[in-house]
């Protein structure tokens, strides 16, 4: 019965988020969605808006936790933080021109809103990150799988190698080649 599954103290939760423990991320994701859906549905949004905003907010919280930009101060701080971020994002969308005009939320509307509020430096960083994300998205499946298992799931090369039934050195070389491929794609799109 997954003891680790349930994120008790906030510090455990922070630790689990930083290590991308899938079970914990999933639990955190699924148990906090409802409140935000209710909020958005009550405020002229649709279920699709709720999902987009929530996922966007979730990634923001995850990023902030990873970079120690947010440290929880009480028992439900992270949950509250997620809610606040989603709420703010939704408020921004509601205020944005494109939403007022069309009442439909497309990706442009969301990015537009985000860009408005950020300073240039952050924009630049964000842009670089977007490029990297896109490149990774389009990377071939085997490489994608390998890099994701290593960098996101944080599995050791040894474990990866034994799963793929290859030598550890081979896995290490593959990982390097995949990174080179990804770097080439990133550099090409600059």
């Amino acid at each position: 019965m997954g003891k680790s599954l349930h994120l008790l103290s906030q510090s455990e939760l922070v630790f689990a988020i930083k290590s991308n423990e899938s079970d914990v991320l999933k639990h955190f994701y699924t148990t906090n969605y409802k409140k935000i859906e209710v909020l958005i549905l009550k405020n002229s949004g649709s279920v699709e808006h709720a999902k987009d905003i929530y996922q966007d907010a979730f990634i923001t919280v995850w990023t902030h936790v990873k970079n120690d930009k947010f440290t929880p101060k009480n028992d439900t701080a992270l949950q509250g933080y997620l809610y606040t971020i989603a709420k703010n994002k939704w408020t921004d969308v509601l205020r944005s021109k494109s939403f007022k005009n069309s009442k439909s939320l497309d990706y442009e509307a969301l990015t537009f809103v985000k860009d408005e509020e950020q300073n240039k430096n952050e924009d630049l960083e964000n842009n670089k990150l977007k490029i990297a994300m896109l490149a990774f998205k389009n990377l071939g499946q085997p490489c994608k799988q390998l890099l994701s298992t290593f960098y996101f799931d944080k599995k050791s090369l040894k474990d990866i190698a034994s799963e793929l039934q290859i030598e550890e050195t081979t896995a290490r070389n593959k990982k390097y080649r995949c990174m080179e491929k990804l770097r080439a794609m990133v550099l090409a799109s600059k």
Binding site: T30, T31, L129, F136, K137, Y151, Y176, R183
Partner: protein, 247 residues
């Protein structure tokens, strides 16, 4: 391979990675920082690698979120719990342990199965006897009195203040959990009950804690976790309910 001149060897890449994930020794880190200061190109390379790693992680997460999303229980339209909760039965509070006699009649209206089971099986915990006059525990029992009167918000507020000083206290976590449940706030109840069940199993109300946690998950629509926790409880209601959940 790369059109750019920014070739990075495998070894260098691994060193940079160790710098980024913070697994360098103090000496290595010192050398590395020196290099960063001296060589601007190198600094840019490191920053670029860092962005790439963040990109890999962020995109990986993003691609998982849709999967997570499918596991969110669908919204329940009816809130049929409302009534039952009000029937706070203040009768004899035996050892707080024993709970509930299930409502026998099952009605098949439009309410989802889980919701229906929850409504049938959920009765607030009767609380602890409050005859004690020990001054240490005054605040605790003061809140208990409120709880028994159905003033859940006040009880929660008082217990919350106590639990902040003693986050590990099973009894406090347990009653905060059941008070949130009685207050129809399943989402806030879960973390407290989770904390209770993860404590040593010498906690006298452990069976009730599993039972209520299971009910909370049931209400949340997570039948799998509901089954696990209800299965771990040996109360009569749990034994009865588990049969309904397994068929």
């Amino acid at each position: 391979m790369l059109k750019d001149n920014s070739d990075i060897s495998k070894e260098l890449l691994e060193i940079i990675e160790r710098y980024i994930n913070g697994s360098m020794t103090t000496q290595e880190l010192k050398d590395f920082n020196q290099l960063l200061e001296l060589d601007d190109d190198f600094k840019i390379k490191v920053a670029d690698i860092k962005t790439m790693l963040t990109g890999i992680e962020t995109q990986s997460l993003k691609e998982q979120l849709d999967e997570f999303h499918e596991d969110i229980p669908k919204t329940f339209i009816k809130k049929s719990v409302d009534k039952t909760v009000r029937y706070l039965n203040l009768s004899k509070m035996a050892a707080a342990a024993a709970i509930i006699i299930a409502v026998g009649s099952i009605w098949f209206f439009s309410t989802p199965e889980n919701e229906k089971l929850y409504t049938n099986y959920f009765k607030p915990d009767p609380g602890l006897p409050t005859t004690m006059s020990s001054t240490d525990n005054f605040d605790f029992y003061d809140a208990m009195v409120k709880y028994k009167h159905g003033d859940y918000n006040i009880a929660i507020e008082k217990w919350q203040a106590l639990v902040e000083r003693k986050p590990e206290n099973d009894t406090l976590n347990y009653f905060l959990g059941v008070a949130h449940l009685a207050n129809k706030n399943v989402i806030d109840a879960i973390p407290f009950l989770e904390r209770t069940v993860q404590s040593k199993d010498t906690f006298p109300l452990i069976n009730d804690a599993h039972y209520y946690l299971g009910l909370a998950y049931l209400k949340e629509g997570n039948t799998e976790l509901a089954r696990i926790h209800i299965g771990l409880s040996n109360t009569n209601d749990a034994k009865e309910l588990i049969l309904k959940l397994t068929d």
